[in-house]
Structures are given as C-alpha cells and as structure tokens.
Symmetry: C2
DNA sequence: GGTGAAAGGTCATTAAG
DNA sequence: CTTAATGACCTTTCACC
C-alpha cells in the first residue's frame, strides 16, 4: 500500500511523540480528527503500522552485549534448528539467508563472558555445522524507519 | 535495573494489547491502578521501556526485500562511512563489529532487482573495501523481546 | 474517588478524483 | 459517482489531581 505526505507526517509525528493521541495529532497536522482516525485505521489495516507495543531495551534489562551469529545448517535440519533457536530467549531474531543452509541470528548477553554461554547454547545442537559470531561494538544507526517512511511518502 | 514478575507480566500484557491503558491493565493483573502507574513510570525512567512508537512494517511500505551486508572499511574512514550510510533511507540499522573495520548493516529494497541499486548506493563510497550481502529468505523468528523479558523477570 | 478530557462512533455536508 | 475530509454531536472510558 502506498502512503502519501499526510500519512508520512502522521507516522513521523507518532514516532516522535507516541503519547499525543488522535486529537492532538489532528491539531498538529492541521486536519480534522476524523481524518487522522481514518488514516490511522487505514495504516493499521494495510499493515503499515503493526502496533504500538512497548519498545524494550535489552541493555536496560541487563543484556548490554549484542552479537550477530552466522550459522551453517546441515541439509534438512533447518526446521529443528529453527525450533531450537526459537526456544532460546537470548535469540532476538532469526533469518534464513541466501547460501544453502545459512542462517543469521541476533543475540544478546549479560556480558562478553556470558556471550560464550549463549553461543554454546545456540550452537550446542546437532544440525549446526559451523558458527561465526560478530560482536557489536557500536551502533551508529539504531533501528529506524522514519527516513524510509519519508522516502515512501515522497514517491507516493 | 532489574524487573520482577509483575513488571514482566505488565510488559507482556502491553506487548499483546498496547491500547488497553493503565486502568484495564490493573484489572487484568489484579493489582491497584496506582501500582501499574508506578511500575510503568519506573520502567520508563529506568530505560527498560523506551517508548510506544508505531511499529512500521517496511514490506507494507513497498520494501519487502531485506538483506544484511557485511562491510569492510578502510582504516580511519569509519566516521565518513557512518555518515554516508546514515543518509541512506534503505539502511535500517548499522553496527560496527569485531574484526578490524567491519560493519554490519540491515538493508531493505523494493525487489531483488532494486536491491542491486541499494547495494550500489551503499558501497559506492570510498572507504568501503569489500561488501558481502546475504539476502533474507525467511524470518522464522521476527524481532522479539518477550522471552528475554520473562527470563529477566524470572532471574530478578 | 471525583472530574475534566479525550477516544471512538455516527451523521450530514462538502469537496475532489 | 465514488472516495475522502470535515465539523458536529454523543457516550464511554480513562488519566490525572
């Protein structure tokens, strides 16, 4: 679904100040409240806005170390490996990628030392042939979406 | 900051139904409204809950292709490369990782063909020596935090 | 616990494609 | 003619003091 300039401004506004609510947003955007409500409904129905869940910071939970692990999976054991990794809380996301039997997962740990424990838990499973881990040192661009939203709104 | 079982249940509840509000949450959790409000304030002040911004799906915006690019950076040019990548809307996040001059970034594109344009835009910059791209085929575990929250609450 | 405010729904009217 | 925006009104619900 395409979004227009008003959708883009609405999403950006909600990203900056999620608590303002529909009425205040309509004031800021200079449109009627019903319009904002209709746009929001459309964006949610279209899947553009998945929800307004809490954004939890793993570091504040006591898991300040992030790493990305590239896994090579033995042919045919993909489903079991997925199920195994889905059961590990420190696995925050898992992707299968191009390259046969390759997966990429994001991990967090309590410390660099604890990361070893997490990696052992991750790779200690038959079907994982090889694992390469890259520890995150800095995060110059935290996960963001606004620039893409603005580009999508510009291109309509 | 540590979280207890009530904090964990509150976060999980807000993740499932972000719109319920403080009053309804207190009913579901079987505690006083003031308790929920105090917990929420503490979690926000402690940085555990960063906010309640909209969760936007790049695919619904017209960018259904995701890829991870590992970049090798020429010594000393890190800052320029970061600034360059921060200016590319299709770069959703960027990390510097262990391994000298290595960065990892998440990209999205309108199609597999469009991904080539994005990669050209990303790597067409002096300072990037080498780039390896892994295209995401499936996402068995989408970015999640609840299992970690529950583990953190269990361990107190 | 009380109260001011906002959300969410419906409606008729108007504008624009 | 269809779609969208608007402003009005209403009721329920919540956030804040």
């Amino acid at each position: 679904m395409g979004i227009d300039a008003l959708d883009g401004r609405l999403i950006t506004l909600l990203d900056l100040e999620p608590r303002i609510g529909v009425l205040e947003a309509s004031r800021r955007l200079g449109v009627a409240r019903g319009t904002v409500q209709a746009r929001l409904d459309r964006l949610r129905a279209g899947g553009v806005i998945r929800g307004f869940g809490p954004q939890v910071d793993p570091a504040a939970l006591g898991y300040p170390v992030t790493a990305f692990a590239t896994l090579e999976i033995k042919q045919g054991l993909g489903p079991q490996v997925r199920a195994h990794l889905a059961g590990v809380p420190e696995v925050l996301e898992l992707h299968t990628t191009t390259g046969q039997g390759d997966m990429l997962c994001r991990l967090v740990a309590r410390s660099n030392a604890d990361l070893q424990r997490v990696i052992d838990k991750v790779v200690g499973f038959e079907g994982i042939v090889r694992a390469a881990t890259a520890i995150v040192m800095e995060n110059p661009v935290p996960l963001r979406i606004i620039p893409l939203v603005e580009q999508a709104a510009r291109e309509q």
